[in-house]
């Protein structure tokens, strides 16, 4: 075997070693959370890479707890409403921004970009006031309202990018047939926008599902919380011994749907992220 061949083999081995390393690095913490969640609390101190037995007690404990189930329900309601509102407002706005030339368009786009760069804390006290005035404190509806601040700019931005790519002829034909802009959107563009809407919707869903600061600040009682807050506060339950088993079980329950969605829509997410960021 020549030195050249050896070098080639070494390169291949190195390459695959790197891939394995990356895979392990990316997946291991989640895997370890799953393993921990399957352990009874008496075995938590034993560090092992493969579960010696399957124990579902942590899941039973979490999934029979009314406040946790309620938190999941709240999160689902909030995230779905946020997606719905962001898409509804986003699709019409993106038509205006992506297909119509009008004065002030760049300003509007600049404002949207500016809003997406807001630190959430910067609006915390002002938004707190708005929410209290609208009587939405400690109410998931207040979260739906406040999440608009980070989902809407992003949705509009990505949808505008997609909107621009649709062929001009389609719209011209619609105008020739006397379609109003509203008809053009709903009858001509909407059917073509489904992939883009699925992508942005999913990204908005993930963002709303994961949000923590507003959810922590604008809710007060167990029954109004969302899942991230519920999980963060699980650890606050006892100050001496953290219930790591149930915390990990809850973490897995909350994360599995997202991981499944991400793996299914992987390609879409990549194109959505890059459309929002690179082309933006």
């Amino acid at each position: 075997m020549t030195a050249r061949q050896l070098g080639k083999i070494a390169k291949r081995v190195g390459f695959w070693a790197l891939i394995v390393l990356i895979m392990v690095y990316a997946v291991f913490p989640f895997y370890y959370a799953v393993i921990t969640s399957l352990k009874p609390s008496s075995e938590l101190f034993r560090v092992e890479l493969w579960p010696s037995s399957w124990h579902l007690g942590n899941y039973v404990q979490i999934l029979t707890e009314a406040s946790f189930l309620r938190a999941i329900l709240n999160s689902i309601v909030v995230a779905i409403s946020v997606v719905f509102i962001a898409l509804l407002l986003g699709i019409t706005a993106s038509y205006a921004l992506g297909r119509v030339r009008f004065r002030g368009r760049s300003t509007v786009l600049l404002v949207i970009l500016g809003v997406s760069m807001f630190p959430q804390v910067a609006v915390l006290s002002g938004l707190f006031e708005v929410i209290r005035t609208l009587n939405l404190y400690n109410n998931p509806a207040g979260l739906i309202l406040s999440y608009t601040i980070f989902t809407l700019p992003f949705t509009v931005w990505v949808l505008t990018t997609f909107m621009k790519q649709l062929p001009m002829e389609l719209e011209e034909a619609a105008i020739m047939d006397g379609a109003t802009p509203w008809i053009t959107i709903t009858k001509v563009f909407l059917p073509l926008m489904w992939p883009a809407m699925a992508t942005t919707g999913l990204l908005a869903f993930i963002a709303a599902w994961n949000e923590f600061l507003f959810a922590l600040t604008f809710t007060l009682t167990d029954t109004q919380r969302t899942v991230p807050v519920a999980i963060a506060l699980l650890s606050g339950g006892s100050s001496y011994e953290l219930p790591w088993g149930p915390i990990m079980a809850a973490s897995v329950v909350v994360t599995v749907p997202l991981v499944v969605l991400v793996i299914i829509f992987q390609r879409r997410i990549v194109s959505g992220l890059t459309a929002g960021a690179v082309k933006g």
């Binding site: 891939i19 990356i22 895979m23 690095y25 990316a26 913490p29 989640f30 370890y32 959370a33 560090v47 407002l89 019409t92 205006a96 921004l97 119509v100 009008f102 368009r105 760049s106 786009l109 949207i112 760069m117 807001f118 630190p119 804390v121 910067a122 609006v123 915390l124 006290s125 002002g126 707190f128 708005v130 608009t148 601040i149 809407l152 105008i175 109003t180 802009p181 599902w209 994961n210 923590f212 600061l213 600040t217 991230p228 999980i231 963060a232 650890s235 790591w244 915390i247 973490s251 909350v254 994360t255 991981v259 969605l261 992987q266 990549v270 992220l273 890059t274 960021a277 690179v278 933006g280």
Partner: protein, 328 residues
């Protein structure tokens, strides 16, 4: 003869043109009107959740408002920011904890974004290579990004646990350390723990943006480089890196803005410890836990200004023209 002959159809044509043009402007005007109509709900929503609250935060920072009683705030000028009283300075700008949080945030942002960019590029280069199972690897790499920050913070808190954590276990196993480290509690290590978690979570984002840029690169210059026998490392620094710089700049600014407003990782991993406290954590603590809306708003306003300045400086320094879509 020729004139009258040609003038008749020409007149007809110009009449038709005017008619079409006027119909054109009518359609145009209708579209512009519709555009504003369509934008209105979005603009109202943004005004309600962004514009007005930001204005109120700004306003409240000049008052002594407290959380329990927002209605009866008194205007106190710059007292929340800086005031000289009885020979001593008070206010945020005189608060060492605030400056500590500014330093923490800057340190956290610079270190974690640098690490994310380096590792993100490496991961992207690997994902860009042709190999079997690339899709699976790509999906696996995305997983940390999909996991809620809160969950990843808890997962890592468990792995970094001083007594039962697997990280200490492994490090002791290979003899790097003799005694377990209290990663999240010790002042020396907690910032590194936070950075570790953030880097783990956001490498996928940077990697994806870079990957997208890599896939748009022209193939021919690589073929030329290969023919000329230029070393791949040299090719990377001379060809690839300059070409993906715009995408990297976008990734850096997105990540930097995110890092400067960091809240949840730090809050969950190390709660209100001053050795890792970020500006957002500081502001929220004043606002919610100490109920001091005026003071907290002042901190929030400062954070907002810092981020706005960072953005502007970055855009100018990088001379990166953010395409505002002038080509529609």
């Amino acid at each position: 003869m020729t004139t009258s002959h040609s003038s008749a159809p020409e007149g007809a044509r110009s009449a038709a043109l005017t008619a079409r043009r006027s119909r054109g402007t009518k359609v145009r005007r209708q579209r512009v009107k519709a555009a504003w109509l369509f934008l209105t709900p979005m603009l109202i929503a943004l005004a309600l959740v962004a514009g007005w609250p930001l204005f109120r935060t700004f306003f409240l920072s000049f008052t002594d408002a407290s959380l329990s009683d927002l209605g009866t705030a008194n205007f106190i000028g710059f007292e929340n920011y800086l005031v000289h009283d009885n020979g001593r300075w008070f206010g945020i700008l005189a608060d060492s904890v605030w400056w500590q949080s500014v330093w923490n945030t800057v340190y956290f942002s610079v270190v974690s974004v640098s690490l994310e960019v380096v590792f993100g590029v490496i991961v992207a280069l690997i994902l860009n290579a042709e190999f079997k199972g690339r899709t699976i690897v790509r999906a696996a790499v995305l997983i940390p990004w999909a996991i809620p920050t809160i969950v990843s913070a808890q997962m890592w808190a468990w792995m970094l646990n001083d007594q039962f954590g697997i990280i200490n276990h492994m490090l002791m196993g290979i003899g790097v350390i003799d005694d377990p480290i209290a990663w999240t509690a010790s002042a020396t290590y907690s910032m590194w723990a936070v950075i570790m978690v953030d880097v783990w979570k956001t490498i996928p984002f940077v990697a994806l943006l870079v990957l997208a840029a890599l896939q748009m690169l022209p193939k021919d210059c690589y073929e030329a480089a290969e023919v000329d026998g230029i070393h791949p490392v040299r090719v990377f620094f001379k060809v690839t890196l300059p070409l993906i710089t715009p995408a990297l700049m976008v990734a850096v600014i997105f990540r930097l803005l995110d890092a400067l407003r960091v809240f949840d990782v730090i809050y969950v991993l190390t709660s209100n410890s001053t050795s890792t406290m970020s500006m957002s954590v500081y502001a929220r603590q004043q606002l919610v836990e100490f109920q001091d809306v005026g003071y907290g708003s002042a901190a929030s306003t400062l954070l907002f200004l810092i981020i706005a300045l960072a953005t502007i400086a970055y855009i100018y320094a990088g001379r990166k023209q953010l395409q505002l879509g002038g080509d529609a």
